[in-house]
């Protein structure tokens, strides 16, 4: 089973992983992308994720289908948060079950790498010491610096 979704509430990892248990599953690999408290020397205080939901959902599902074709996996669950996140919250979860560990590790790596490159989702970083900024990694120098009231 392949399932991608956008979530505006915290991601419940233990419930997701528990639901992936099957007698045939010998390996379960999960990756959590978390909100860290620093970026480029700035102290980060929170994030907001904005998504083009229709396209993110279809593209996310496509990535999971690709992983399912490439690797011998049993199931993949992937959830990405949208809206406001505090430090240490989970921004994205990728969980892969398989009969054997190679496929589970490889599929998990494939999915997180493709999601980061392809999902139409953007991160607005809030700093303790500078104006909030939309992150556009390919062209950081063009990113708009927002003038925001404190």
């Amino acid at each position: 089973m392949l399932c991608f979704s956008l979530k505006s509430v915290p991601i419940n990892v233990s419930a997701i992983v528990a639901a992936m248990d099957r007698p045939s599953v010998g390996a379960l690999v999960s990756f959590e992308g978390r909100v860290r408290d620093h970026h480029d020397g700035h102290r980060v205080t929170k994030l907001v994720y904005q998504a083009y939901a229709d396209l993110a959902t279809s593209e996310g599902s496509r990535v999971l289908e690709e992983a399912n074709r490439r690797f011998s996996i049993t199931s993949i669950q992937c959830q990405h948060r949208i809206g406001e996140l505090d430090i240490s919250e989970i921004a994205i979860l990728v969980a892969v079950s398989a009969a054997h560990r190679d496929a589970a590790f490889n599929a998990c790596r494939y999915v997180i790498d493709e999601m980061k490159m392809r999902l139409p989702i953007w991160k607005l970083e809030f700093y303790g010491d500078a104006a909030a900024q939309w992150r556009h990694p390919e062209q950081g120098q063009i990113a708009t610096v927002l003038e925001r009231s404190p």
Partner: protein
């Protein structure tokens, strides 16, 4: 003339000052449509750094705009 809805995200949304807008345009391609919007709002992003989507699916800049469609300009992404 075709009537379309344009969607803006992230720093493009900040520059445009709106999330979406209804436009009437005679643009022959999605590229021309972006150039019109970029001039109207001073979007600041060269088109070759962006992607374009129509009705929730990635499209090509040389595609012709369709009346009634929803067109999104996609700046470099930063999810995950």
């Amino acid at each position: 003339m075709a009537r379309m809805t344009l969607l803006y995200f992230a720093s493009l949304r900040e520059r445009a000052g709106l999330e979406r807008e209804l436009v009437d345009s005679a643009a022959r391609t999605l590229a021309d449509l972006y150039d019109e919007a970029a001039g109207r709002h001073v979007l600041g992003w060269p088109r070759d750094h962006l992607r374009v989507a129509v009705d929730g699916e990635f499209a090509h800049w040389h595609d012709m705009p369709r009346s009634g469609s929803e067109i999104a300009f996609i700046p470099p992404v930063s999810g995950g």
